[in-house]
Amino acid sequence: MKRFSEEHEWISVEGDVGTVGITDYAQSQLGDIVYVEVPEAGRKLAKGGEAAVVESVKAASDVYSPVTGEVVEGNAALADNPALVNSDPMGEGWFFKVRIAEKGEMDGLMDEAGYAEFVKGLA
């Protein structure tokens, strides 16, 4: 199950663990990503709270957690290769995995078609 937030994060859920990243639209808006700071395992995240930082040469943006939970793992590969966020935002460019505390929070997020419609509205 893949869901999207209005802040351009995606979350893909398996069991009670969600994998979070930023969308293709978000990476294209940011341009060349030069640095990503992901949360360390064990950190408690609140829905809508700051979870990670993503930087291009001229901009720094916060990435928010789409759900409440505890970080299981940050994507260590992004430290050496932040360009993965540009080349494969929905795959290898994932940011962190989070153990979801409140499954009901997923209901407030958009599905793929809904997000596509949302992005279209931004243009």
Binding site: D32, V34, Y35, V57, P82, A83
Partner: protein, 521 residues
């Protein structure tokens, strides 16, 4: 005449010529390696007397290994830095139209005065009886700054504009605390057009920053200010003239509303050059304002500092000014320092010693040279030059706001719409024409901003040539056929566009010996 006729072929020829030189040099433009790559071990550029033989008292902490510095003789060092210097654009070379930076002529008299032994070769902690002239000089500078701004007090120690902001905002915090309202007033209003230091300063002091929108005329929205004011607001930080190059028409109304709400008015004085000598900020109802001596008063920018950011203070804030300041007891000057007898409740100390003395001397030399009449003319000509540039470009570029401006002319990128040329491309093309670009993409409230501040020290003929060059570039961009050329610019500078993504992804922030050399050690 289309000037591009004579120039269009040049880039290719130049590029070929570069390939043809054996050295990679291009006549006067010399390639220069890092100083670490020019090591001739054992060489030095200084001859020192031998150290007298003594028993070391370094307590067993003697350095064991080498530091790793290269050895060069004096002529090698001179050539290295001379070659480097020739890769820089500078005010001494021509129009340097960086908006909000006030790149005006730096008189060499100021340099000479700052190097007088009685100013340059005195220690900050000498007995005060031996530095009476220095304290007198500082007090005279303070007198000029207070008179020009119409404010009763000035704190001189801040080292730069941003440091001055910190000083002013701490004074506000201290004043609020003294009123018992420190815990309650936590919001600071900052217009969206503000320089980034304003929100950074306020946030560092624990204030929450609340952006205030600008209206369509590029002026702060007074209604929005009034709506945002309340018993929890500590201050407003307003730049005037603002970063759009406009005088805030409603500034008195803003000041009155702010004071009525019990808050303070911090004025960012970055653009003081537009009004110096003609308008006293004190008459506008401000509580404090920093002054960038390196802008308005012409101390050199030096490739990014040192600056100096004195802060003038209203009677309400003056008691909280930080150490040190000068006091005259009878005929004797002294510096008020921690533990000495003082009036007021100084909030502490922002910097060691007395502030940027070397900059004080330069600024005072500049003020004395201009005098009150000359400074009046400084603001007049700065505003005239900017408006002349605006008037001569408004038909080919797109002014961000209608009407006249103060000391800088702001354009948006709508004149480039559909040309495939961006603000950045346009700026880089100016480099090939021999100009430093204007400030780009600032202020943030204007799309693709191009902010031009010519200052008062450019002659009309130079401005005419500058304007002609920009008109030419604007027309070339609009022809719709030059996007590729703009995107490739600059092609004639010591370097073409640099890969900033690479620099940020794999930061190389220092030289390291090549692996082979490390292995050989």
């Amino acid at each position: 005449m289309d000037r591009s006729q004579g120039r269009s072929g040049r880039p290719t020829i130049e590029a070929d010529a570069t390939k043809q030189t054996f050295t990679g040099n291009r006549a006067l433009q010399l390639e220069e390696s890092l100083i670490f790559e020019q090591d001739s071990p054992g060489s030095t550029g200084v001859d020192l007397p031998p150290a007298p033989k003594v028993k070391s008292r370094l307590g067993g902490l003697e350095r064991q290994g080498a530091v790793g510095l290269p050895g060069l003789s004096e002529p090698q060092v001179v050539q290295h830095y001379t070659r480097l210097s020739q890769k820089n654009y500078a005010i001494d070379m021509g129009v340097y139209p960086l908006g909000s930076c006030t790149m005006k002529h730096n008189p060499r008299l100021n340099e000479k005065m700052a190097r007088l032994a009685g100013f340059a070769d005195i220690h900050p902690l000498q007995p005060q009886s031996t530095v009476q002239g220095a304290l007198e000089m500082i007090d005279l500078l303070a007198h000029w700054l207070k008179t020009l701004t119409g404010m009763p007090a000035v704190a001189l120690s801040p080292a730069a504009g941003a440091h001055g902001e910190l000083c002013g905002m701490v004074a506000i915090r201290a004043a609020l605390e003294a009123r018992g309202e420190g815990g309650q007033r936590k919001r600071v209003l900052v217009p969206e057009s503000a320089h980034g230091t304003n929100p950074a300063t306020a946030a560092s002091l624990g204030f929450s920053v609340e952006p205030i929108p600008a209206n369509r005329q590029g002026q702060v929205d007074v209604a929005a200010v009034k709506a945002a004011l309340g018993p929890d607001v500590a201050a407003i930080m307003l730049t005037n003239p603002n970063t759009c190059g406009l005088f805030e028409r409603d500034i008195r109304e803003v000041a009155d509303a702010v004071h009525e709400a019990g808050a303070y008015f911090y004025c960012d004085g970055a653009n003081f050059n537009a009004i110096v000598g003609r308008v006293r900020p004190g008459d506008l109802g401000i509580d404090c304002m920093h002054i960038n001596l390196h802008k308005t008063f012409s101390t050199p920018h030096g490739g990014g500092g040192p600056g100096s950011g004195p802060v003038v203070l209203s009677a309400a804030l003056a008691p909280f000014a930080p150490y040190p300041w000068t006091v005259k007891d009878g005929d004797v000057w002294r510096a008020a320092e921690a533990g000495s007898e003082v009036n007021g409740q100084p909030f502490g100390r922002l910097k060691a010693f007395h502030g940027q003395m070397g900059m004080f001397v330069r600024a005072l030399a500049y003020m004395l040279s201009h005098g009150s009449d000359g400074l009046w003319q400084v603001a007049s000509d700065a505003v005239l030059n900017a408006n002349y540039v605006l008037a001569r470009l408004k038909d080919v570029m797109s002014p961000a706001f209608p009407g006249t401006c103060m000391h800088e002319a702001l354009f948006d990128d709508s004149f480039l719409k559909g040309t495939g040329v961006t603000t950045l491309d346009f700026a880089k093309a100016m480099i090939d024409e021999g100009y430093h670009p204007m400030t780009m993409y600032f202020p943030l409230v204007v799309h693709g901003a191009l902010l031009i501040e010519p200052t008062e020290t450019q002659a009309k003929a130079d401005l005419d040539q500058f304007v002609d060059a920009l008109r030419h570039l604007a027309q070339k961009a609009k022809s719709g056929e030059a996007a590729a050329a703009f995107q490739a610019a600059p092609v004639l500078a010591p370097r073409r566009r640099l890969d900033e993504t690479l620099a940020a992804r794999k930061p190389v922030l220092r030289w390291r010996p090549p692996p082979a050399a490390q292995a050989a050690e």
